[in-house]
Amino acid sequence: MGERLPLRSRPTPTVHSRSSGDQLKSPPFAYVAPTSVEEALTLLAEHGDEAKLLAGGQSLVPLLALRLASPSALIDLSGVPELDYVRRENDHIAIGAMTRERAVERSEVVREFVPLLSVAMPLIGHLAIRNRGTVGGSAAHADPSAEIPAVAIACDAEVVVRSSARGERTITSDDFFQGFFSTALEPDEALIELRFPVVGPGTGVAFEEATRRHGDFAMVGAAAAVRTEGAHIVEARIVVIGVSDKPVRRREAEQALAGAEPTRAAFEEAAALAADSLTPPSDLHGTSTYRRHLVRVLVRRALESAVQHSQEGG
């Protein structure tokens, strides 16, 4: 996130963060529109950390308008077609950074091989937002309540990034997402691709959220992927959002389910473990206690519907 405006009044610790910015028009910036990744990376290297890549603009433009970010230049990736793709490569599905969220939502390949991503997409904002918003933008923005980072962590996806100076590197999702709006991206690096492993047979998925209104960011969300064999759970993956500075994997809960029978009691126990030890933030939309409670409810519901989904054939 961009630096906050210096307050020109005598600062006091009690001033609400937005009270200083009474404008909704962005500060000045230069605009450049490269047509290739190479050109974009060169521009990024030239401008250094004063520049920002512009993808769908659904997060960046509001930040500019609120003057919470004030980059000197925007490097618009909309004219870089080589970053817009969904394709199967060996044992993973590769999704280019500039692929629109709506395209992922409609992709048959994603539905078949990364079903958790498929069910998560409709939960992102509204259709108009998904028509503009991109996979790379969402991952790079790293909102702790966003769905795409949660799915990436749940699936052990890899993130491919590149700079003109040092070339390409591949980062695990666990390492890529570092905290509140922060990632492993260096200022001169662009996110190029997300790689989601193809899921095995018998895996059921679900993404459950509590939102105050249709289309809002979730107060809390729970993603579950459960692989069953016969009457038993072989493997479960659980990630929750809205409770910490990044999506959190609930490994204890996952372990409690491995080998268990998919009963309501087992789900409730796992949900309690998932909620345990979390200290979610409080805000206007819900207290910390409320969010912890929601984790329990939503993890249980996600497990129930994931198992149902897996029994229906995944």
Binding site: L5, L7, R8, S9, R10, T12, T14, V15, H16, R18, S19, S20, G21, D22, Q23, L24, K25, S26, P27, P28, L66, A210, R212, R213, H214, G215, D216, F217, M219, S282, L284, H285, G286, T287, S288, T289, Y290, H293, L294, V297, L298
Partner: protein, 777 residues
């Protein structure tokens, strides 16, 4: 002379004349006004709730790129005449007196500190950041406790404290008798939370001063051009005749845009100083933070009732938070007091009120500004029903007045003539199968699903019953027959979503005898329209009545004139389908266009006959009357997440004779949506230091179409009170009664947990706290 007129348009859901241009993006909102040479204003606003301005340095901003003008509060004040702003004008409030921009100190987050005018809005905003202000913080007054604490400094020195008005208890009826006869007394504190208007179009204006003629033309979004002109000319010290306010399309207001704002005056003064047109469009941050908010009241209520469920009397103490720069709030307690008994046989009331000022946004009018009385009363009725283990519907039926029976007047003195709340309850009983629902509810509970039903009733002064010594006002109108035979209607109404271009044309077309398409309604120009404003559910009766009376007068004049042209007796003439003819002699017909052009030709009329086909008329509201009705919601509460789903929403209402049922339904639905928003989503939140916490739509949650259920509406037969005019307003009812309806339904759903609801705002975490699923923090 009351003559039967064939009704072709009134009562029909005719398509709105406004819609083609609005839906095709061709409307003219203030921001669409672009004048040659126009420059742009931005305001520097306060980051503090309460602070003195120790120093302010604008030198850098003045030198910034594209900047034409910077005024501090003191600099601007030297160019103005002190006096009221906004609603303060109508309220003829004497104290507190305040300046246009802050001079000595700031009184809320978002208070106006300086105005910058530059070649673009971007440059103006960039320059505001270069203004260096040193503030010395004062203790903020953001809560009722802080306002009552005498150790806190008064926000407005001339008030001497932070109490704006405090009344003695007023007693109506035999209060002590009622309480001593009662079997039970319910004692509760019920509150409404602060929320706000949030029109889709924010406030804004374009002021254009012409130094050559010394005239000011101002385009603005408002609810009445003349009220606006009074503020602008008054504060600028200009002859009102030299100020012209124009308004075209307005994207909603709900009470917010009544009277010229402090921003409007600053922009007008800047235009006068520069001799250039200056535009200011409030952005959403400014709109949410500082344009105005509404509805922050708390009520200590005692309700006396019997074992049988008769509600005998109420004792109520109200505290209202008027925010800073008060305008309307001081006038509301007496409205709330007088409306509290509503359509119920409540024979005793004691009411005491205190209005405080705080370091928050101004308490402004918001759709049904006195609605707190409905919330309190309709909650109390349900609470009493629960205490007695009775069906709230039955308690309402038992206590509601019956037409033609005593009491016919509220204990506070307001006539109940024509009130049909009882009938609306009966109709609701037909539309909603209450016993059937109770069975369904029980079955659902057995599965762990929590359904609830809630109802609430209201009446709305639209414009209110005629009573001795309480005139309903005077609605002026002017009509003329244009040379092409079209009927031109000039109204002081300032439509901002009420569809007056359609509804006034419907009424006038029927009464005058022309096609709907041949009526043009002119509004929004202080140089040409009569005085007036739109607000308070008044226009159906007042403007509808004025349209009938004025069209009738013009028709008489046209017939009189035509009698000379047709050489026939006036009594034998009529206007039908846009032509004047002798009854029974169709061949004699002269089109209105022919008449209008004939009277303009010399020699066609005898000497001394007035050929000007123009009339001015006014309407006094006739017998006036109430609108009213009952709403019902069926909800399901997810007791694991606290989220509420509205399964069904039914409205039975009576607004007299419908001019346009589609318009009425639209008004009802919009109001209900705002009421649902108030309970489930919307809250203007401050921390206890007066920092405003909901300054974007990420935090201030408006309901969207996805959150609003289908709303079923049933209109009741009206009770005609007046020989001519029985249209009654409907603008506010939905918003007035939806909040208690939803709260009552939620409380019913949560009955198994013994939940009682005393606060209007019920976000999901709050509901789980009430149920006891989670601990409050």
């Amino acid at each position: 002379m009351s003559q039967q007129v064939a009704q072709r348009y009134v009562g029909s859901p005719i398509k709105r004349s406004e819609d083609p241009r609005i839906l095709m993006g061709a409307g003219t909102y203030v921001d669409d006004v672009k004048l040659p040479g126009m420059v742009h204003a931005a305001f520097l606003r306060s980051p503090f709730a309460h602070a003195t301005i120790a120093s302010i340095d604008t030198s850098l901003a003045r030198k910034a790129e594209g900047v034409l003008l910077v005024y501090t509060g003191e600099e601007l004040e030297a160019l103005l005449t002190p006096g009221p702003y906004g609603l303060g004008l109508i309220m003829s409030m004497e104290k507190p007196v305040f300046s246009c921009l802050a001079t000595d100190k700031v009184r809320l987050v978002g208070d106006l500190v300086a105005i910058v005018v530059a070649e673009s809005r971007y440059l103006a905003e960039d320059a505001t950041e270069l203004i260096d202000v040193e503030y010395d913080e004062l203790p903020p007054v953001a809560t009722v406790e802080q306002a009552f604490d005498p150790s806190n400094p008064p926000i407005f020195e001339d008030l001497g404290s932070n109490i704006l008005v405090q009344s003695e208890p007023h007693a109506f009826g035999d209060v002590e008798g009622a309480f001593s006869r009662a079997d039970h007394v319910l004692r509760v504190t019920i509150s409404q939370h602060r929320h706000q208007n949030v029109p889709m179009e924010t406030r804004g204006c374009v002021a254009s001063y012409d130094p050559a003629t010394e005239h000011l033309l101002m385009w603005s979004a408002n609810q009445g051009v003349h009220i606006h002109r009074t503020t602008i000319s008054g504060r600028l010290g200009m002859d009102p005749e030299k100020v012209r306010i124009r308004t075209a399309d307005v994207g909603g207001s709900f009470g917010l845009k009544l009277g010229g704002s402090r921003e409007d005056v600053a922009v007008a003064a800047a235009s006068r100083a520069l001799g250039l047109p200056v535009k200011y469009i409030e952005d959403r941050y400014e709109n949410l933070t500082a344009s105005g908010q509404a509805r922050e009241e708390s009520f200590d209520v005692e309700a006396a009732y019997t074992d049988d469920g008769d509600i005998l009397g109420l004792k109520v103490k109200m505290v209202m938070d008027a925010g800073a720069y008060p305008g309307l709030a001081g006038a509301l307690p007496s409205m709330i007091e007088s409306m509290l008994p509503s359509a119920y046989k409540i024979a005793a009331l004691e009411f005491q009120s205190t209005v405080i000022v705080t370091n928050k946004a101004t308490y402004v009018a918001y759709r049904g500004p006195w609605a707190a009385e409905t919330f309190v009363r309709e909650r109390v009725i349900d609470l009493v029903a629960h205490e007695l283990g009775r069906e709230p519907f039955d308690i309402r039926m038992q206590n509601v007045v019956t037409r033609g029976e005593e009491p016919t007047v509220m204990i506070t003195g307001r006539s109940l003539v024509g009130v049909t709340v009882r009938e609306s309850l009966e109709r609701l009983g037909e539309l909603v199968d209450l016993p059937g629902f109770r069975l369904e509810q029980e079955a659902a509970r057995a599965e762990g699903r929590y359904l609830g039903i809630g109802m609430a009733s209201y009446i709305e002064a639209a414009p209110g019953p005629k009573m001795p010594g309480m005139p309903l006002g005077r609605e002026e109108m002017r009509m003329e027959l244009a040379e092409d035979g079209k009927l031109i209607v000039f109204t002081g109404q300032m439509p901002h979503g009420q569809s007056h271009e359609t509804t006034i044309a419907q009424v006038a077309a029927d009464e005058f005898g022309v096609a709907f398409e041949d009526v043009q309604v002119v509004f929004g120009d202080s140089d040409i329209v009569p005085p007036g404003f739109t607000g308070g559910s008044r226009s159906a009766t007042m403007a509808g009545g004025a349209a009938i009376m004025t069209a009738r007068a013009l028709r008489a004049k046209v017939l009189e004139t035509s009698s000379h042209l047709l050489e026939a007796n006036v009594a034998d003439l009529r206007i039908e389908n846009g032509a004047v003819s002798v009854v029974g002699v169709p061949a004699s017909a002269m089109t209105l266009a022919d008449v209008a052009s004939a009277v303009r030709q010399p020699g066609r009329l005898p000497e001394g006959v007035d050929g000007e086909l123009k009339v001015e008329n006014a309407y006094d509201g006739g017998s006036g009357g109430w609108s009213g009705g009952t709403h019902c919601a069926i909800v399901e509460v997810d007791c694991e997440t606290g989220l509420v789903h509205i399964e069904r929403y039914v409205v039975t209402e009576d607004c007299g004779k419908l001019i346009n049922p589609a318009v009425v339904d639209g008004q009802v639905r919009g109001g209900v949506a705002q009421g649902i928003g108030a309970v489930l989503l919307e809250r203007s939140a401050y921390d206890d230091r007066g920092n405003y916490l909901t300054a974007t739509f990420m935090d201030y949650l408006m309901p969207t179409t996805m959150d609003i259920p289908n709303i079923e509406i049933s209109h009741l037969e009206t009770v005609p009170l007046d020989p001519d005019v029985n249209f009654r307003g409907i603008g506010e009812g939905g918003m007035i009664v939806a909040p208690p309806t939803i709260c009552n339904a939620i409380e019913d759903a949560l009955a198994p947990f013994g939940v009682r609801i005393y606060q209007q705002h019920l976000p999901p975490a709050k509901l789980l706290e009430l149920i006891g699923v989670i601990e409050p923090e």
